[in-house]
Amino acid sequence: MNEGIITAIRVVPLEHYVILSFLLFSIGIAGVVFRRNTIIILMCLELMFNSVNLLLTAFSAYHSDPRAQVFVFFIMLVAAAEVTVGLAIPGDDEAQRG
């Protein structure tokens, strides 16, 4: 298994990952603008963050440098915090006019 993965890193060109992340990021952007539902907008933001995570992880593997993965870990932290706040704000909004 591990061997296979190591070959995967060698076989899959980095460009592929970059393009994939860009694509996911763009879909996220389109979604944020496209949707009106707050929760789906939040999900699209998550999509954007995740595309960056993927990009960073790919770079990390390519450079053989764990730091980018630590960065990804932090992005996850921040994303979690942001989602909580994001969900709280329109909830609040809701309460105002309920």
Partner: protein, 487 residues
């Protein structure tokens, strides 16, 4: 570093204080704690060693900005004593959130690692998202909070993309390494690096509300509680600019990114000033004025020399002092006008509260950059730097020259000073109220006003050496720039 810790702990302490019915202790404790943090900060003056594996570096630059940030927060807490006086709930939380946000600000002034930049921005922002929605009975407040959150997260996405791309080409998050890599020819030609820088700058530009990433600014300023708006337009702006500058200070930005910065600057200057024209809500006006000031500050970034950070600091400080003062005035006037935020509430201010009106005028004059005020000197120094950087007419900055400030003056001021309109919007009883308030809070405003004047009247020490190569057309142009204010 100990200041950072102390402020974080202070936030928690305030939260606990909030559990009991200790509301009147909140601000004093907060202020004392901040002053203690300031002392700790100053004890470490000139200890420039990087901390924590090169994550933070409390150098002179960071110290100066941290000092400014802490003092501004102290000023806002003073303001808060009165502001939160009749608020029942969540006061402790609001103070604590401001402190947490301040922690983010302190990280921005001293980061040496892109991860800390990102975390700093988030720690600065997340409490703000909540604070902006802090007005209970206001729909606008909730809406503002949501808009701010949405656009802020969106911008964070771009910032992250930028950082990731920079990492991709340099394999490092360390600022010094990245800066060095950008300078090399390989870095200059690298497409990933270019995109990375681009998106990073986009992300940070959002925080400083540069056009076209400014959309949140007016709505949020308007919707947020006044104290929070004041916090955003001073502490947050200062921190964001400090971080921005720290990010690009030693970078030899590729020409293409420079071009983009120039375009952003021009757009910001024009839009901020022009749109301010029609604003009648005070906070929106301040928002556009803040955008216009962003434009001015961005001018500094276009040609970085060893004096740039000083000018940046000077400009931000004077701007912040004047802004805090104005928001205090707004609170007073707004209260007397029963919640109206239209600038017409300033009419007749001179009648009902002459000293407050004079202080207001000074603050406005400073924001507008009228000679003999700090704001003027600040703008002047920005121009001087811009000129040194050979930026002159080519970019057409002067076209818009702080007209925002001018408009601010025109809208806000003659009404308050000309006797003709002195039939007051602030009527009889309200007038007494205003008086009473001024007695209590007036010293704060006066202090701010005095600060503005004092800073302004001593322009010479580091104002620049006359030996520098100077381009006279530019100075003629800056004379023109005096013109709108010459009334």
């Amino acid at each position: 570093m100990s200041a950072l810790i102390l402020i974080s702990v202070l936030g928690v302490v305030l939260l606990y204080l909030g559990f009991g019915d200790n509301r009147k202790w909140l601000a004093p404790v907060g202020i004392l704690g901040l002053l203690a943090a300031l002392t700790m900060l100053l004890c470490n003056w000139n200890v420039e060693s990087p901390l924590f594996a090169g994550m933070l570096k409390f150098d002179g630059y960071a110290m100066a900005f941290d000092m400014s940030l802490i003092l501004l927060t102290v000023l806002l807490f003073l303001f808060g004593i009165d502001y939160y006086a009749r608020m029942r709930e969540n006061v402790a939380e609001q103070y604590a959130l401001m402190l947490f946000s301040l922690v983010g600000g302190l990280m921005l002034t001293s980061f040496t690692n892109l991860l800390v930049l990102f975390l700093g921005i988030e720690i600065l922002s997340i409490p703000l998202f909540i604070l902006a929605g802090g007005k209970r009975d206001s729909f606008r407040s909730g809406e503002a909070a949501f808009k701010y959150f949405l656009q802020g997260s969106f911008a964070s996405g771009f910032l992250l993309l930028g950082i990731a791309l920079i990492y991709g080409s340099t394999a490092s998050f360390d600022l010094a390494t990245v800066q060095a890599a950008v300078g090399t020819s390989a870095g200059q030609g690298n497409m990933l690096m270019l995109l990375g820088l681009f998106f990073t700058i986009v992300g940070v530009s959002f925080k400083v509300a540069a056009v076209p990433f400014h959309f949140w600014n007016p709505d949020v300023y308007e919707g947020a509680p006044t104290l929070v708006t004041a916090f955003m337009s001073t502490v947050v702006k200062t921190a964001a600019f400090a971080g921005f500058y720290r990010l690009i200070e030693y970078m030899h930005l590729p020409g293409a990114v420079q071009t983009m910065l120039v375009v952003v600057t021009v757009c910001t200057l024009f839009l901020g000033n022009i749109v301010a024209l029609r604003q009648t809500q005070f906070k929106r006006l301040m928002a556009y004025s803040s955008i216009a000031h962003t434009g001015f500050l961005l001018i500094i970034f276009l040609g970085i020399s060893e004096r740039t950070s000083g000018v940046l600091y000077y400009y931000l400080t004077t701007y912040s002092i004047a802004t805090v003062g104005l928001f205090v005035v707004l609170t007073l006037a707004k209260r007397a006008a029963k919640g109206d935020e239209n600038i017409r509430i300033f009419r007749g201010l001179f009648r009902s509260a002459p000293w407050l009106a004079i202080a207001t005028m000074l603050l406005l004059l400073s924001l507008a950059g009228i000679p003999l005020t700090a704001g003027f000197v600040a703008k002047y120094r920005v121009f001087a730097l811009g000129i040194e950087a050979k930026l002159r007419g080519r970019h057409g900055f002067r076209g818009s020259d702080g007209a925002g400030g001018h408009l601010l003056l025109r809208h806000g001021d003659p009404g308050s000073l000309h006797p003709q309109r002195a039939r007051t919007a602030i009527g009889g009883g309200a007038r007494e109220l205003a008086r009473a308030l001024i007695l209590r809070r007036g010293c704060g405003v006066a202090g701010a006003a005095a600060g503005v004047v004092e800073v302004g009247s001593t322009p010479s020490p580091s104002a620049g050496s006359p030996t520098d190569e100077v381009d006279q057309p530019c100075f003629s142009a800056s004379l023109l720039f005096l013109y709108p204010y010459a009334k």
